[in-house]
């Protein structure tokens, strides 16, 4: 710790913030701030004014109320793994990092809920209740380090969300610091359907633009009695896609149904967790079924039949937990594995109706050719959530922009078949303009109207989620808001 340097500043705001959180819990020197210039979306970087680390809700509220009184922009940050730039301080914000609010406050097995602070890491929850037979279902691939607060903000998904639902289906209550520093509590003791508009629903997935979450009540589930995992290799990606639809048409609800294409396989096999996938196949499916032991065999047999019918090259069931774990480690580290075959990569996150999978994968292949960039696909095939990974080299002038354009073209391809531009990573700053692929100006305004209710002075995480003003009524309104301040 650079103790001497601390608080050598004439900035009264830094001094006042330090007085709230303590001198050790604030960063404001440029060299300390660079780590906070961006999150998992590294294309744009902006320096924050400072980073503060509150220890509890009261401190958070005090900070927020100070910043709001002094007209200083701010935003919340969890682990900084967000992939759309939600935690990037576009306006030189004061970053309120929640990583020191990381306690597990309560586990109530009888009522199947747990209360955590926002900085609590996703996987830690499962790890700490697993011995009692319980787990927390939403499992983003980043779960070993991302925070539940960040998950709430992004409405994070994961491989097992096909059967169990995404974050919003598991949130029972939130404590929130509003953008003017008030503390509100939505939902109580995990009790469902509390009368009134569904504020839990609107806050979850609001990407940190409506309030700062300081406490979360989540649903926890008992572990399924049994799990079985199947790995299937296809020579033809179209057969693999068709198998996905067939499995679902069989009336099976798999716990997970993941797909990787040839380029993705090349990457994961060159990275830290290879499992020996053949390198000459076009697609693999990782399929998991869980539930009552007596019913699993039957479902697995159906899945094997479907794969055979769709010309699978080979298909096997994991023999034990180790093998299963190896397959999943290989899948879950898939994004990072791109580093093994490309200097840089950009992850996209489109969603399509499952039935259009072959068509859209074809279109993505064309985009790859048009832009001269390789695109790997690793995705949640069961719910049509694609993750095209665009491989590029930022050292080559113009290639970053080309990658961004190719990413945008992939999202357009998803929107063209009635899909969405993001299934779990959020809009952030990355996909602001692409919001126009799916919403009209009026529909975007309907959403910014809601933001104005929660965040009227727009000091909290401004500039995210919505296209820059210029068309609709946004400009006029922002002028009005500025005038009324």
């Amino acid at each position: 710790m650079r103790r001497k340097k601390r608080l050598q500043t004439n900035d009264k705001h830094i001094k006042n913030l330090a007085a709230i959180v303590g001198e050790k819990e604030i960063l404001f020197h440029k060299e300390d701030l660079t780590a906070y210039e961006n999150d998992g979306f590294t294309i744009h970087s902006y320096l924050p004014k400072a980073v503060v680390f509150p220890k509890n809700t009261e401190e958070t509220a005090e900070i927020v109320s100070y910043l709001s009184r002094n007209d200083l922009p701010f935003l919340a940050r969890g682990a900084g793994t967000g992939l759309s730039g939600g935690a990037v301080p576009l306006n030189g914000e004061v970053i309120i990092s929640l990583v020191k609010m990381k306690r597990l406050l309560n586990v109530d097995l009888k009522n199947r809920c747990a209360v955590v602070e926002p900085g609590y890491v996703n996987l830690t929850l499962t790890n700490s209740i697993s011995d009692k037979g319980y787990y927390y279902a939403p499992d983003p691939s980043s779960q070993y380090c991302c925070t539940i607060g960040g998950n709430v903000a992004e409405n994070a998904g994961g491989a097992h969300c096909l059967k169990y639902g995404v974050t919003t289906n598991h949130i029972l209550g939130l404590e929130v610091v509003t953008p003017d520093g008030a503390i509100i509590e939505i939902g109580k003791n995990g009790i469902m359907d509390v009368p009134g508009y569904d504020l839990l629903g609107i806050l979850t997935g609001s990407e940190g633009t409506l309030g700062i979450v300081t406490k979360i009540t989540v649903r926890i589930l008992t572990h399924p009695e049994e799990k079985k995992t199947v790995l299937a290799y296809f020579d033809d990606v179209a057969d693999g896609s068709q198998a996905v639809s067939d499995i679902v048409s069989e009336g099976i609800v798999p716990a997970a149904l993941e797909m990787m294409d040839g380029t993705a396989i090349e990457a994961v096999e060159s990275a830290a967790y290879p499992v020996g996938h053949p390198k000459d196949i076009e697609a693999l499916l990782l399929i998991e079924v869980d539930g009552i032991s007596a019913g699993i065999e039957e479902q697995i047999n159906k899945i094997l039949d479907v794969c055979e019918k769709r010309n699978v090259r080979s298909v096997k069931v994991a023999e034990d937990e180790q093998e299963r774990a190896r397959w999943w480690a290989n899948r879950k580290t898939g994004f990072g594995a791109m580093g093994a075959i490309s200097p840089d990569y950009l992850v996209q996150d489109g969603v399509i109706p499952r039935s259009t999978l072959p068509q859209v994968l074809g279109r993505i292949r064309e985009i790859s050719q048009e832009y001269g960039l390789r695109i790997a696909n690793i995705f949640h095939a069961g719910d049509g959530n694609l993750h095209p990974l665009i491989l590029f080299d930022s050292r080559i002038p113009g290639e970053t922009d080309k990658a961004l354009e190719a990413g945008s073209a992939c999202l357009q391809a998803c929107a063209d078949v009635g899909g969405s531009i993001t299934g779990e990573h959020g809009v952030g700053i990355e996909k602001r303009e692409e919001m126009r692929f799916v919403f009209s100006d009026k529909e975007i305004e309907a959403q910014t109207n809601i933001r104005e209710v929660f965040n009227p002075y727009y000091l909290l995480n401004a500039g995210k989620l919505f296209p820059s003003p210029g068309r609709c009524g946004e400009v006029k309104k922002e002028e009005k808001a500025a005038a009324s301040k």
Partner: protein, 436 residues
């Protein structure tokens, strides 16, 4: 009384036989309109709303009226807009397991149609008889099987909504996973029609289970503690009942002929799994409990009777004074709530989810007795940190007791939302929490 210009305007939007003047001056359930309109398209709905907001008329919205007794302290508005003539399936993508329907589609009709494709909408609203899908969504209804499948809020993937000024807004989309922008679907689900008229609903579906059965476990008097212990044991086990609903002796008597507290554990899965779970339950059942297992047909009939019991007559001629209340508590308090209900002289029966904490009680009595009973129940429930909502009551009673209870401390946000979306308070005035 409606004025000639309102009549003229509405009949210029709709054929004359889709516009009806309401004759009765005083209605038993309220939430009525001076004139009743039956639009058949989204454009007609938009035109009616545009007219109403320009002319500063108030509009109540209904499907088939099954929830007329839920919320609201006004007897009538200028216009009552019914979605009953705006029905049908717009698009069903069998392979994607998604469906887009018009709001006036009867819930039952939708389920029957889906069943013919081996699919279902996995919600079992208690007021399914006569309900439209629009009403089920607007009230965020659910039933015993919520334990496994969630409620309407978990199934809606996209909506089209007509705002009070006639603008049409789309929320969500056509895919089952979507985080583009705010999750606006959630605002409208459960908002009781106070934010907009839902004109199209996109839902995700599930396959019909290959097999199902219903395990009924009745606990003769004196074994109450066993219920809690057994429920906890089953919930902690790795079995996956889709309901674990406790019925009060009175309700159990109506449904099964056996007047004891009874647990209804529904099982839905492949046959081998259903049989396996039946055996599991048989093996852990308490010594004094009586167990019976209903097969697919019997289980279906049971749930029909169950829904029928709570299908209250909302017609004007109906003379009985009855009330339904919904109670939300922690799971571990459900038994207490139902016992409290049993002690209540007016209680005709009730049920509650041991794994989700939502209960319902059916009360009968005169207005004064009912009002007293509601407040004492509410007091008991609030002591446990829960809430009570009056789900069905006459207008006179609703004016006397608070339907939704005290608004929460963050009510200002709800009010802010209402004011942004419907500044003139055109839609369903005073129907929802805190007079929204």
């Amino acid at each position: 009384m409606i004025t000639a210009d309102v009549w003229k305007e509405l009949t210029s939007i709709l054929p004359a036989d889709h516009v009806q003047e309401q004759k009765t001056a005083e209605t038993r359930y309220g939430n009525d309109g001076q004139v009743l309109v039956f639009p058949r398209t989204e454009e007609e709905i938009a035109a009616i709303l545009t007219f109403a907001s320009t002319a500063e008329k108030k509009v109540n919205v209904c499907g088939c009226g099954s929830k007329r007794g839920l919320g609201g302290t006004e007897d009538t508005a200028d216009i009552l807009l019914s979605t009953a003539s705006f029905r049908g399936i717009k698009e069903h993508s069998v392979g994607d397991m998604t469906i887009f329907v018009k709001p006036g589609t009867p819930f039952r009709e939708l389920q029957d149609y889906l069943a013919s494709h081996g699919q279902k909408l996995p919600i079992d609203p208690i007021h399914a008889e006569n309900a439209t899908i629009g009403g089920v969504i607007a009230a965020n209804e659910s039933g015993p099987k919520r334990l496994a499948y969630g409620s309407a809020r978990d199934l809606v993937i996209g909506l089209r909504v007509a705002y009070a000024n006639g603008e049409i807004i789309r929320t969500g989309g056509k895919v089952v996973k979507n985080v583009a922008g705010y999750d606006m679907n959630k605002l409208f689900v459960g908002s009781m029609g106070t934010l907009g008229v839902i004109t199209e609903i996109g839902l995700k579906l599930r396959p019909l289970p290959e097999h199902e059965s219903l395990v009924l476990l009745s606990f003769p008097e004196g074994d109450i503690d066993d219920i809690q212990a057994f429920s906890e044991k089953l919930m902690k086990s790795r079995m996956e009942p889709v309901s674990l609903e406790l019925l009060t002796p009175a309700l159990a008597e109506t449904l099964t002929g056996d007047a004891s507290f009874t647990l209804a554990a529904a099982l839905e899965d492949v046959a081998s799994s259903v049989f396996y779970q039946e055996d599991y339950i048989r093996n852990i059942q308490p010594a004094n409990a009586r167990l019976s297992i209903l097969n697919v047909e019997e289980a279906g009939a049971f749930w029909e009777r169950f829904q029928h019991t709570f299908a209250l007559d909302t017609s004007e001629q109906h003379q009985g004074t009855e009330v339904l209340v919904k109670i939300g508590v922690q799971h571990s308090d459900v038994l207490e709530v139902l016992k409290e209900g049993e002690r209540e002289a007016l209680c005709e029966g009730g049920h509650g989810g041991m794994g989700h904490g939502l209960c319902q009680l059916h009360l009968k009595g005169d207005k004064k007795q009912l009002a007293d009973s509601i407040s004492s129940l509410r007091e008991a429930v609030e002591e446990k940190g829960g809430y009570l909502v009056v789900q069905h009551a006459s207008l006179a009673l609703r004016r006397e007791v608070s339907v939704w209870g005290e608004p929460p401390a963050h009510f200002f946000l709800m009010e802010g939302i209402k004011t942004k979306i419907d500044p003139q308070r055109t839609l369903n005035p005073k129907r929802f929490v805190g007079g929204l």
